[in-house]
Symmetry: C2
Subunit: 349 residues, 2 copies
């Protein structure tokens, strides 16, 4: 289990003054995560597509996390976190809250490690997400999202059972686990003869991009990292400018259900503030258009939140560059009806 002591040690550590090192985790934590999940997590493909290269006038690599266990990158961090628990902690199990990808990632990791997992989910969560999480062996505790607090329920439950609470992004092991995406991008782009200049990563709470940036900047400090967010949830983009953790207005809405975090994470933001070049934001229509491009041209399934980095690239939000670009498609868990409506529609002219 990580502790504030570990974080404090890191902040005092000389290494934090070096390029690419962050106060919360470092490249060595991502390398350790890669060891922990090797042969367990999927080494997802890095795809290249000629029409996309021609459209952008440069090589573009697509890191497809839809091919990860449970259809999103979330398994990486969950497995790294859970694999660090001792026997006593394993017996007591884990508790998490999530209505989507983190729920499935934790449930799958717990199942592989033969640990009990309890997920606090809204009673009105999509039946398919509840069914998938339950099929992975997790116990589901429903709550009423209008009258109850999932944090309070989960915290009380964890205390009562002696179980470990598994946050969806604000945890060093979670961040380091997601960072294995960055290590694989570097390795696979090199195998393909690429010369990366820029990397775009979807951003909700900021765990995936914090880990990915730690891995990439710790290895190749000249590569630029960009977060991609829905326009209505551009808290990381604004926070990178202001230097403080900005909030999303309570009435904000987006089709990107995986990216609705209300503000950058307490642990993820310092990392991202130190390592990212800028934050990009895209409209829901740009997301739909990117999902159609993924279907029609890349021939892969991408969920709305998983498509924001591709949307940022296709809509011309990325600053001009001449080197190669890597784009993370972070998840592919999308309802067939939603997907059908989107691929049937046409781009606004």
């Amino acid at each position: 289990m990580w502790s504030f002591r570990k974080v404090a040690n890191r902040i005092d550590d000389n290494r934090t003054a070096q390029a690419g090192q962050s106060p919360v985790i470092g490249l060595d934590d991502v390398l350790s995560a890669a060891n922990a999940i090797r042969g367990i997590a999927v080494r997802t493909p890095l795809l290249e597509n000629r029409p996309l290269n021609e459209r952008m006038g440069r090589r573009v690599f697509i890191k497809f996390e839809g091919a990860q266990h449970t259809g999103s990158f979330k398994f990486r961090g969950a497995m790294n976190r859970l694999s660090r628990l001792n026997d006593q902690e394993r017996a007591a199990g884990v508790v998490a809250w999530s209505s989507g990808n983190h729920a499935q990632g934790v449930a799958a990791a717990a199942r592989m490690l033969d640990m009990p997992a309890t997920i606090v989910m809204p009673a009105d969560a999509p039946a398919i997400k509840m069914a998938n999480t339950r099929a992975l062996g997790a116990e589901i505790i429903p709550y009423d999202r209008r009258t109850q607090s999932r944090e309070e329920i989960a915290t009380a439950l964890a205390k009562e059972r002696g179980a470990v609470l598994v946050p969806s992004f604000d945890d060093p092991f979670i961040i380091a686990g997601q960072g294995t995406v960055g290590l694989e991008i570097l390795q696979q782009a090199t195998e393909l003869g690429g010369r990366l200049e820029q990397v775009i990563v979807p951003c909700g709470g900021g765990g995936l991009i914090a880990g990915t940036a730690t891995a990439i900047k710790g290895t190749c400090p000249d590569i630029q990292l960009f977060s991609a967010e829905p326009q209505a949830f551009d808290d990381t983009a604004r926070s990178l400018v202001s230097g403080t953790r900005e909030q999303v207005p309570p009435d904000a809405a987006s089709i990107c259900d995986a990216l609705l975090a209300p503000s950058p994470g307490a642990l993820t933001f310092p990392i991202n503030h130190g390592l990212l070049t800028a934050g990009l934001a895209v409209s829901d229509d740009e997301v739909r258009s990117a999902m159609r491009f993924a279907f029609n041209t890349l021939k892969i399934v991408a969920e709305p939140g998983g498509s924001v980095a591709l949307a940022a690239l296709l809509s011309g939000k990325l600053p001009a560059g001449t080197g190669d670009v890597a784009v993370v498609i972070s998840g592919a868990n999308v309802d067939p009806d939603v997907f059908a409506d989107i691929i049937r529609a046409e781009d606004p002219s």
Copy 2:
């Protein structure tokens, strides 16, 4: 250019008596094709999915040719064929007929080699397929499929222009090019620690499976090869039993638009007869169910004809085995409306 002399030489060749060698092409032809298309064709990913492994009780590898240029394996054979033309032949260009994947594969290969390509397409072909082929720089000659013969039009055109006719499967270089799928499966399954026992490949005219079987049996003679076809177009399955090239009834219909060849090829069938264990056939409903599985679980796009091998596996048509299985998803060019209708529907209970 291949000639009947080359084929005749092969038939006389001692190597044809060896296991895994076929009279039309041999493993060396596939290796030569791999050299010809290296760095030009995509080395498509070999995917593995835990729920699929659990459902089948064994490791299953998915060779995803939707990630190939133009969204199907057809580019491999087309590029191998076109790259063998001499300067004079290149200047005169190529002619092909096809309403779908072969058209795009030939057009893309010709464009990369800076050669003129003319594709004879039915006037009522889907607008999107015509547009894609034209966008690749090919000239399209429309014909009326009720009153005109595409073979006659294409042959006359090729003669008039001194252009080379590029068949969609009955050509040694086309077959050898498609066989690079088999080489990659062997390499990638080995990288993943797999021990292949069975391989299932979609089959229309039989070029893809003939090349794939040549590559695989020529390397690992104990691996079993199975063709997969739509039930209404099970000519290869029946021909493997009878030993002669059986015909499809003229009124046959299937949603698998890529697999509507009326009989096994003159060159492909002898190869397949020598190398395949058996032919499997699936219903259109089993194909739709496999497409939904690809969407919901594998998170990839598969067209109907590209899904028959997966459908054969999921519907329990493959003879029982204990080793690993590889399944080729051969293409992903499917109309959004068709795909939307299929993913919205549910499996028949």
